[in-house]
Structure formats: C-alpha cells, structure tokens
Symmetry: C2
Subunit: 619 residues, 2 copies
C-alpha cells in the first residue's frame, strides 16, 4: 500500500500531503507550487533546483543531478526536484532562482485609434403589452419593436436559453427591457429595464508565459480595467513544445492545459471586473489572441500536428463559440471570438501585432519583430506582406541561460563593461541581484564583444587578463556579479554555453529577418521602420541589439518598441467590427514562409552565428 | 415518520413500494402505471376508477367518489384512485376502462410529392495530405476541397465539437472523409471514409396523446421506418390545459414534461432505427411539429401565457437547436428544427396539415378541420387563408363520455339503431365491447336523432317506449350494450350528460367553421373540398357527421379524410427546404381569428347547440 507523507515547501511553509515515492516536482505540481522547468520534469533542463533540508528523507542523487549540479551545490543540499523522490517527511527550500514569480507584465502597447463599432449593441425597448387584438408572440413582438426602433428590418436568431426564459423575463420586466444583439444576427441577452449603458467586452492575449486582459467599455471604446497573470500552464513546461509534448501524452493532459487557459481568462475577467466595479454578466464578448499552440490549448484541439512537420494547425479563420460552451464566465449568452491565425507558428497574437502597428496599411516598408520563445517576423507594407517564425528559444526571456531569469525584481536588466573589464549593472527595483534577464543577455554579449572578451565567433578570448574570466567545471565563464553581491551567495556568471545559446537565438531571429528581406528583394536601406514587440522589448538597448546583430542594421531612430501589441490589437477588434474583418484579411493576405524549407536558410543561419554576422563577401 | 407500504397493481401484478398516506393515483404515477385522468388527480373527472380488493387498507370514501360512482359500483369495491389514500398493503385492480392502453395510432396521412432537397447534404472528399509546400490548416484544406468538388464558394461554420476533433478525424481517416453540411452553412459532421449513402432524418409529430415519427432516407426521400407511441405526459393530464396547469405549478414540473417529450422522440428514433437497421448517428436532422402547448413543453418554455388571455406564445417562427442541447440522440452535431406556429392554439402541427393538403396552393376554396381535443380549422385557398381554434374538448376522442374510450381493441366504433330501436354495433377487432370511441359518439347521436330517441335540442324524448331508455341516478341514459355483452359486466350507455358534452364539442367545431365562412364571406356551396384530419377521422361516418351538424352541409363526396397530415407535413419539410420556407410563409400569411373575440360567436354557438343546428331564420 502506498502511504502518505508530508512535504513542506519553504520559505512559504506550505505543507502538502502526498504519496510516498512521488518526486518533489510532482508534489509541487499537485500543490500548485510553481517550480521552474523547461523540460516538464524530465531531468533535462536542470532548472527545478531545490534545497533539501534532510537528505536522508529523499532518494539518492541521480546521474542527471550530477550533470546539472556542482559538487559544492550538492554539498549544500541542492537537488533537482524532478529527480528527488520523497521517502519520508521532508522540508524543501525553493531558492529564488527556481521560484516562478509573478512579475510585472507588459500590459500596454502601441494602440491606434479605431472607429467605435463593436459587434455587440444594446437596444432599450418599451414593448406594447399583449391584448386580445394584439396577441403577437413574445419574440415577434420584441423583434417588431426592435425593427421599429432601429429603423431596419431584423431577422435575428435567439439563444435557446434566452428563448426559454423570454415569457417570464418580459412579464417580470413589465415589458420594459433591453436587448443585446451580437453581430447583427443573434440575440444574446434580454434584460429587464434599461441596461444600455452597461456594455462591456474583454480582450485577452494568452501568452506562453502570461495572460493579459483589457476590460473595455464598448459604449466608449475605453479600457476600464487591465489585469495580467502568469500562465499556470508553465507548470507543464516553460515553452510551447514541452507543453505540446505533455498534451500529446494523454488527452487528459490537453484538458488540463485548456482548463488552465480558461481559468486564467476567468480570473483576469473576475479581477478586472471587481476593480472596475463591472458586473461580469454585462460582459458580452471576449476576443482571444494567442500563438497557435495557446490557440489549440484554449480550444482543446490536439496540438500534435502543429509541432510535427509540416506544422499544420487545425484551423486558420476566426472562430466564434458560445461562452457557456467554453465555461467563460461572462454573460450566459456571451460569445468568445478567437481571432484567425496564419500558420503553425504564427498565431492570432501576431495578427494583432500587425493590426496594432498598422504595417498592413502603411506605404512604408516595415519590419515587425515580436520577440518571444518563438519570434514572429513580418515584412511588408499595404501592398503585400511576408512573415515567418523563428525558433529563437527562450534565451531572451532569461531561460536556457545558467543564471538567466525572468524580468522580475532582482534581475539584472542592464550591463556595462568598462575598458578595464569592470562590470556595472542595474537590477529591477534596484534589488540585490539574483540573475539576469533578457535585456541584460543582449548587453553582456555586446559589451564583451566591444571589450574583446569574446571574439566575433562568440568564443572567449583566452588572452584577456581578468579574474572575472575563469574556468568552472571545464567551461569558461565570465563573472558578472561576485557571490557577496548576490541574493544566492553564488556568483552570477555568463558561460560559454550561455553565449552559444544566445547566438543561436539571435541567429534564428536575424536569419528570419534576412530571408524575408531576400524573398522580398529589399535591403536594410529600404526598410522604413522596425517595430519590436514583446514583453521585454522596451528594456532593450537598441545599439547593443545592433552590435550583436539581433536585428538588421538600420538607423537607430527607425527602431520603435511597441510593447504588448498583441493585446492592443485584440482590443481594436473588440471595439471595431471593421478591425475584425481586417484581421481576417491579414490572415489570408500575409504569405507565410516556412524557414526550414528555404534553400538559403542554412547558409544564412551559419553566417548569422557570427557577431554581428558574417559580412557579405563581394564575389 | 412516514413508513413505506406496498401496493400491487393488477392484472399486471406490478408491485410498488410507496409512502403510507399517498393516494393510489400518486403511487401509480410514480410507478409509471398509466391511469386515465382528465383532471390530473383532482377528483373532478371521475375517470381514474380502480377496484380496491381490501377496502380496510385504504382511506374512507370521499364526497367526490359518491358523486362519480353508483352504489352498486361502490359495493363492488370501485374507488377513484386520486381520492384513495393507502393505509397498509393493498391490491388494486385497474379495470379496462381506466387503463391507458397503447392502441394503434394513425401514423399515415395524405402526402404530396415534393422535390428532394433536404437541408442536410453529404460530400465525400479525398483530401491532399499536408506537405512542407502545402501546410494549409485542416479546416481550410477541407473547405478548399469541398469548394472544388461542389464547384461553389464555401464559407461554412463548423460545430466546435467537431473542430476540436478534426485533426485526429482526418488523420485517422487517412484524409478520406465525408462531410455533412446543414443548411448550406454549417458543418455538422466529418466522418471517416465514404458515408454519403447514409443520410437520414426524422419527422416527428408530438401530439397531445401520441407521438408519431417517420424515419426518412434523405438520399431518396423515402420513409424507411415509422414508429408511434403514446405520449407519457398523459400521466399529468389528458388534455393540454391540465398539463399546462401542472407545468405552471412548479418549474420542475415543466422539466418533467420536457423530459417526457424528449424521451419519446428518442424512443421513436431508437425503435425506428433499430427496425430499419439505421445507425442513429447517421440521422442529422429532426423536424418537430406539435400544437403550441406541446411545442412549449418540448422546448421547456413556460406555457402559462398560452393558457391565459390573450393566449400569447413565446415565439412564432421556426427554431433550430443543436440536438445535443436538447439531448436528442441523433448525430452529435445534428440539428432539431421546430416548425413555426400560428397562435396560442394553432401550432406547427396545423401548419403541417396545410402543407400536406396543399390548400394554400389550390385555386379551390378548401375547409380543413383537424379534429382533436383542440380542433384547428382553416378556410381559404392560394390567395388567402383564415384559421381559428375551437375548444372542442376530447369528446370525439372518447373522453368526458361516461363509457367513452380511445379507439383501442374492444371500443365500439360504429353504431346503427333500427326503427324498432334495437342497436347494432361494431367493435375494433370485433372484441367484446368495453366502451365506445369517438366515431361511435357521432353515430349514436345521429342514430338517436333519426329515430326520434332525442329531439333536435338534444333532450331524450320521454315518449319513446323502449327498455333501453332508462333513468339511472336521476339521469336519463340510453343503453347501447347490455351487461351480458360487455367485458365490464356493466351496461354501456350514453347519458344525457354525454349528449350535452357532445353537443358542446360539435357546436364548438361547427361554430369555428361557420364564423370563418362568415368572415370570408362564403357559403356552403362555395366550398370546394372539406379535409378532415386527425387520428380518428378515417372511421367517421360522413353522413352522420352532417346529420349531427359537426361539419357544414356540403356534398358527401367533397369530404375527404386525410389522416395524420401533421406528421406527413413534417416529413415534407424534412425532404425539402422549399417546404420549410412555405411553412414559414404559411405561418405569416394565415390570419388567425380569436373566436372568443368575435362578436358573432355567442349567437352562432347557441345556434350550433341544436341538431343539426338552428336553421337560419328568414327575416
């Protein structure tokens, strides 16, 4: 018989009862304690580091742990949660670098003014009461009044649930009621009295790591509440591929991912409504954007074929689903609209980026880069557009980097290295540093290159004399912060492996830009504007981004950070039906280029692995 | 504490455990034992007669029972089930006249040929497999193939449940699949392989007392199975008003009535499919007709306002609902369509009658009478139509008549009285008689009138000398069958009250016809055809129907019995989209006349109480 055992997670002191033999990782997952993991608990990423207080209460060290942990760490009690089985009552410390923290999320972005023309409208009606000479049925009575008031013929469907209650609603309201109509053809609510001033919608961006929602007053088009939370799917992997693998293993897993996504939207809705004092029952429409994996998770569509060549999604066009079918807790008759996607790795969020920046309507040739684990790149103007997806990996989000972390308090976000090879840095909230986030990753590479610490091929220059450069576990690393400066009492370093990881990431993005430019037959000088979207964008040092060759070499003033354009684009489609049509047009008009399929990809990628990148050879 | 007690229903020997103090009627209802009742257990109708074997096991006789039972009946152990409370273990005999029997139901009717053009169509597709140069999403791939094959642009919605499964369905089917499309705009099924030959629909008439369904092969338009069952709602009252009262008492009751209706449709579906060896998953559409009360019960819409002046239904136009929302067990993506109604007492069944008889397209002036508890009457031709509803009551269905019964085995269906006042009758199945059904009710009045047993005012002629005419419990009655001829060992009689009841019924129908003729400004001679629809129609003696003045005096050859035109009309709309549009047109074109509101109603009704009816006075 499997017996129960208690595990206590410190520093919160959260006590959890689990079954003997489970791993610390499993126990944390069950208890909703967020541990970092990029491999979902497979012992591959080495991110789920914990400190076990009583080592005899757990299983022995595994090979995987010996690989990911240094001897001194092992001596201090460090273990990988996914490798450590619980034998008896145990206390486990979660160090700051392992904890999934709720950090400030980029909730705003570039927004363009759009005409107020939402898909839901309300109409307050004073209906004539039935009499023996006017015995029109309730629905027809209502439709006739509506037609009279709006001065146009109406031929509307009605939600069955509302029809069922219609006779009672109208009589209880004494024939004074407000009708809500969606998309000019469906009655989604009939409410007693005049509620026409209460008309709200929610625009949500379901990101791989965060969910951001804007609660919008659809009578004015104004945002009345913004709410953001971490995506709890992260428990099942930090990147989409790990989560897709999790979903593929079992249909129940896919259900778990959907439930996370739905719960998140409900939490964002609930909080935004609570703070803005809006009744969630007066929210009639939700617009959802997200990358293709999030899109499939949200809809509980098998995402397997998105991950496997030829990377085929289930559906491209936008989808409207009754909120009750998804259990989204807006008005019972409300509608959830998922915007269209472009391809397996270019989702509705990217379409929202295009809408928000307006590059599809501009004369100027624009380059739009939404940097994330997957980076989407668009090039084009009002005449035509090309896009691709770059498997950039999460290096610029602080993941896959030894001391990398998200942009939370204590993360180093800016780095300068002086000619005497001394390091200056700035942390978020000016707190004691715990690690470094994406913007600092760009800085450190650029600064090391400028100071000759590394060569254009990304290798450490062993001729450099500084005690900050050292060999550790057979690997060269550069010390950014000494152990006495940090919260972890360990040095924060940047290793040769980190450099390699970053070069792969930046090469992926640069190659994407480059190939799109080639296919479009344009050069750097032709590019009018470069938009950089994404959560971490605003903190990037634009010069350094060019120094390392993350983006094409255009004049700095042409580079614009636009923030979370995904949620802003979603909001635009919430406010305006016209924008929704444009989203559909963009989805159909943009030509998607599968980079893996491009004959120049390998050559361009190899070149891009140099810093900033191999100069074109004149033939 | 309430203790349990056992009750045994004979002759089936069904044993039921119930609570002490409940009535026999309640116990029977709980156990699903069908007892006749017109008042739903209120002690008013006297129909729930049972024989209690051990009288000391039940409560004492009530006033209501003394009123409805004769002394000799009381001596034989007769009780009213609704008045009899169970004290201890008891055996209760249900006599044949009380049992709700499953009798042969009129399942066919006049049918007109219609063009085969159903709302569901199938298309078998061989899809190109995705490749790196053709990575169209699954749905768009399917739509493109569909467009190519059907040679027209397609812009279809897809059921969310199907979309969820689409990637797996298509790959499991190796890209060889059949798509089912409803109404040219919604994908309701995607099935592996070629299933295009399996396309079925169900047309159902939900009648107050019976449910009839036709299973139709939509590739040919042919009926492949017919199934009919009694409406189990009858437990909650034989007529619609009793059931509406039941529904008004509690929302849970309305739910019970809906569940009965849904279960019935599922039973009809299941049986018809089983016998025809059709997979219910290949049934994609259900067309439902029924009177307005049945319509509201089926949709679980509060029917209260249909019963109260000004008799307003909730909705007039046809409604399409996902089968899964109603729990109708056809294909998961199937659609249930409820045809439009005209008014509170003229339902979708009446529209189906019009469709089936085609009176709305004929040059000839037609009169259509669908006789039931509620009788719907239409007059008109292709130019315009008038209709009304007559509260005829259930006399012609054998109810509210002392020895009346449904048209089941043992019911007298034809009666002749010879000049020597002797009675000849014919029973259904030539069985020993138990009572008389509706057609015999018409005969007995007509024959008594012709032989001077009753006067034109419907009173017994006390000068007539025959031992068949007697006074019983202070009421005159005419003996149709002697006690030694019957199954009940009691005489079958026709009482003064029965005559009065019948006169009210026939007067209601005749007045309906008469007022419609007046409002249309036509006379008997202008009427080209008279259609009599309804379950009992076929057995009526047309001459006698005219003798008693049930219908206007037109040449007999103009009178046509058309049977169950409701289900035939429903079938026509199942086969042809065009018919569905016509149903909508009929609903909007027919003018409904509220008889209770007509200034001539009282005068006409008084006249119609005479046999055949008071002759017009020449002024």
């Amino acid at each position: 018989m499997i017996s129960d055992v208690t595990i206590v997670f410190e520093p919160e002191g959260k006590k959890v009862v689990t079954s003997r033999g489970k791993t610390v990782f499993q126990a944390a997952k069950e208890a909703g304690v967020g541990l970092r993991s990029e491999c979902g608990g497979g012992g591959l990423c080495g991110k789920c580091r914990v400190i076990v207080k009583n080592s005899d209460a757990v299983s022995k060290l595994t090979e995987a742990e010996r690989k990911h942990l240094s001897q001194s760490e092992i001596d201090s009690g460090y273990r990988l949660a996914c490798q450590t089985k619980i034998i008896r009552e145990v206390i486990v410390m979660i160090p700051p670098e392992t904890k999934l923290e709720y950090h400030k999320i980029q909730v705003l972005g570039l927004e363009r003014k759009v005409e107020l023309n939402p898909s839901v409208m309300k109409c307050h009606l004073l209906l004539p009461k039935p009499t023996l000479s006017d015995f029109r049925p309730d629905l027809e009575r209502l439709l006739n009044s509506l037609s009279k008031q709006t001065q146009k013929a109406v031929n509307l469907e009605i939600d069955y649930e509302i029809l069922k209650k219609l006779p009672n609603i109208l009589r209880d309201a004494n024939w004074d009621a407000t009708v809500t109509i969606w998309n000019d053809y469906r009655i989604v609510a009939v409410e007693p009295g005049d509620t026409s001033s209460e008309l709200f919608g929610l625009a949500v961006d379901i990101g791989t790591s965060k969910i951001v929602g804007h609660l919008v007053d659809l009578t004015s088009g104004k945002t009345v509440g913004i709410e953001s939370i971490e995506n709890p799917q992260v428990i099942h992997g930090e990147d989409t591929i790990t989560r897709i693998t999790f979903a593929m293993a079992d249909n129940a897993n896919l259900e778990i991912l959907q439930k996370h996504a739905i719960d998140c939207v409900n939490r964002v809705l609930h909080e935004a409504c609570r703070k803005a004092r809006v009744n969630p029952g007066r929210v009639y429409e939700v617009i959802v954007v997200g990358n293709t994996a999030m899109h499939h998770f949200f809809l509980r569509i098998q995402p397997k074929y998105v991950a496997l060549s030829p990377y085929t999604p289930a559906v491209k066009s936008s989808i409207n689903i009754a909120s009750k079918e998804l259990n989204i807790k807006v008005n019972r008759g409300g509608i959830v609209t998922i915007l269209p996607i472009i391809a397996g790795f270019v989702g509705a969020d990217a379409i929202a980026d295009v809408l928000a920046t307006g590059i599809h309507e501009s004369e100027k040739l624009s380059l739009l880069i939404d940097i994330g684990t997957n980076t989407e790149v668009f090039i084009g103007n009002k005449d035509n557009m090309l896009c691709c997806s770059c498997a950039s990996g999460p290096a610029f989000e602080g993941a896959h980097i030894k001391h990398g972390m998200k942009a939370v308090s204590g993360a180093i976000e800016r780095i300068r290295i002086s000619p005497d090879l001394e390091v200056a840095y700035k942390t978020i909230d000016d707190a004691k540093p715990t690690g470094l986030c994406g913007s600092a990753v760009i800085d450190v590479i650029a600064e090391m290159l400028k100071n000759g610490i590394i060569n254009p091929n990304g290798k450490f220059n062993s001729n450099i004399k500084t005690k900050r450069l050292r060999k550790n576990n057979n690997e060269m690393e550069f010390i950014l912060a000494w152990n006495n400066e940090t919260t972890t009492d360990r040095e924060i370093t940047f290793t040769q492996k980190d450099i390699n990881e970053t070069l792969l990431a930046k090469a992926a993005i640069y190659t994407g830009c480059k190939i799109l430019m080639k296919r479009k037959n344009v050069e750097e000088k032709d590019i009018g504007r470069v938009f950089i979207a994404g959560a971490f964008g605003n903190c990037i040092n634009r010069e350094n981004a060019k120094v390392i060759g993350l983006i094409p070499d255009v004049p700095t003033e042409k580079i614009e950070f636009v923030g979370n354009t995904a949620v802003m684009g979603a909001k635009m489609t919430l406010i305006s039906m016209g924008m929704r049509e444009k989203a559909e047009l963009i989805a159909n008009k943009v030509r998607y280029l599968e980079l893996g399929n491009d004959s120049d990809f390998n050559q361009e990628f190899s070149k891009a692995l140099f810093l900033p990148h191999e100069v074109k050879q004149t033939s």
